[in-house]
Symmetry: C2
Subunit: 340 residues, 2 copies
Amino acid sequence: MTIKDIARLAGCGVATVSRVLNGGRDVSEETRKRVLAVVAEQDFHPNNNARHLKQRQDTGVAVLVQGSQNLLFADLVERAQALLRERGRQAELYYLDEAADGAAFAAQLCRERKPAGILFLGGAAWDFQRSFAGVTVPCVLLTGSARGLGFAHLSSLTTDDEEAAFQAVSYLLDRGHREIGVLGGGQPLSQIGRQRLRGCRRALEARGLSLDEGRTEPCRYDMADGYAAARRLMERCPEVTAVFAMSDVLAIGAIRALGDLNLRVPEDVSVMGYDGVFLARYSVPRLTTVCQDTDLMARRGVELLLAQIREEGEPVHETAPFRLLEGASVARPREEKKGV
Amino acid sequence: MTIKDIARLAGCGVATVSRVLNGGRDVSEETRKRVLAVVAEQDFHPNNNARHLKQRQDTGVAVLVQGSQNLLFADLVERAQALLRERGRQAELYYLDEAADGAAFAAQLCRERKPAGILFLGGAAWDFQRSFAGVTVPCVLLTGSARGLGFAHLSSLTTDDEEAAFQAVSYLLDRGHREIGVLGGGQPLSQIGRQRLRGCRRALEARGLSLDEGRTEPCRYDMADGYAAARRLMERCPEVTAVFAMSDVLAIGAIRALGDLNLRVPEDVSVMGYDGVFLARYSVPRLTTVCQDTDLMARRGVELLLAQIREEGEPVHETAPFRLLEGASVARPREEKKGV
DNA sequence: CGCCGTTCTGGAATCGTTTCCAGCATCACT
DNA sequence: AGTGATGCTGGAAACGATTCCAGAACGGCG
């Protein structure tokens, strides 16, 4: 069943059928009706491969996600895919290992499948300049690192990670914590991780304290790593009264680790998360966390991508809002061992 | 840069280049080397749209996931996609809302994109017979319902849901629980939900008890629904001493709900989960749950799909193993109010 | 009536592959 | 030397859409 058959059944030429199928300009109302009737009757769907071959581009959009266990992405991905579908664009999802070379994968995807655009979720600092040489496809980076933004077709929507980390640690300091451990940031430390660490340092230095490198535990963004890192941290630095985990997933792993060390949260040790995923609102105890607005991010990210696909102006770089969500995982330190 | 240019540069015909690119049968070693050199030098990638148009099929595989918050699928999806990639098949992921008509979506996907196969994760009872009329694409159903297995191109790998539920509830009964609530199964109740309920009923009847319909709370598979359902259940039936949640995600929501009602887990109420996702091992308290082997399921599921794509024999229907994973969310009932 | 502009139409070229098929060597064997 | 089998090769015909372009039909106007 091809466009030719439809043409025959509708008593017209293939060109006319094609025109009807693509917006129906320059076709009389009568023929249009007739063709559409046949299409519906035969349950005809045009072959995308043929269509894209001729148009030299896919209408679909690729969504690349790096780090599958990060629940922040689960929220974002579902939302983004639904929004894209509403706008008539199929969104294909690709999960990549945290260690994989996302930029190279994306470049290959462009050459082979030629998507109309790419939405990047997470990922370390990718070198678009290098891998995307010669590739011109609209891209949007969500929650990723800002490195390589020189790439001409890349928009971005990222949280001000330094400021968010600054506020998170300040929140802990406000409640009297002085011995603060830090978990996460990628292994090895990613661009984002470094930004967040900068925020931590700034918060500490604003109180005349300094970031103790011995109390930072870089690790990947999954629960197992969060668990392991928290254990290492507490065994090495038992004086720590609060932990700032750079992801809620890590925070969950850390809480479990603390429990296994017979430390209660938040009575003995406070835990601050990051992301504000749905799980944060259901964990025991509820997480106090830096909450990102996934709904807004998905919506705006999709908008930016579609705007670029329509070639409306230059790529833009925006900052996504965040707010501190108070749960029950942070309290004042048990005894202010080192009260200033 | 097309195959024609490569042919020109390598001093041969397009047919030869194509043969080299596809396994290189019937090509002299010398020409093969020469062509490959040019391909590498020019960083040439054949156009997939043209290729698939001619072959009338995509080499890629589609993975359909229904119910994005179900963490069981997160595990499975990542694993399956990685395995497929290893086997040289790009896997595109599509998330569907739990309420969406997955079979219709899949049918449309087949007509438009023509994937080599489809891997289904989850989903209620889909009517393959109806939606897939005329479509012949290899399919594998993982963890889904068994309805519609009459579809000729469908293999399946499913857990024996009835038996698993039987064992889960028996475990609770063994520990002295008599007033047992049940959460989940889809809203409205899915095929799988009904099977699990049958298992519950069988376990209860084996002890001379019966399944009290008033103590079952059908709900969707996400934390918010689990929370709400658990609250409804406990407010209506305060005598309940143990809850069987048909998914770990629901169990987490339920634990939070019980906490908000000032009921401790497991001291006041025990909670049994289902799935054995990574989160189960890190939650507080650790979940006692029916653990499915996601690694094995992904591996075997991919194998079944690839076998069908290679057209090796008839579709098969297999059962995936499970085992009870003991955590700390189940204890004996506080006081055996109705000790037999 | 002749001419032009507008609106609609369908044939044919095109996109970049795969694959059929015919053709040419080369070789072994009668 | 003639024959047939075998191995490589390249030209050309698909695949199923889009889109260019030329042409038909029609109406309005001088």
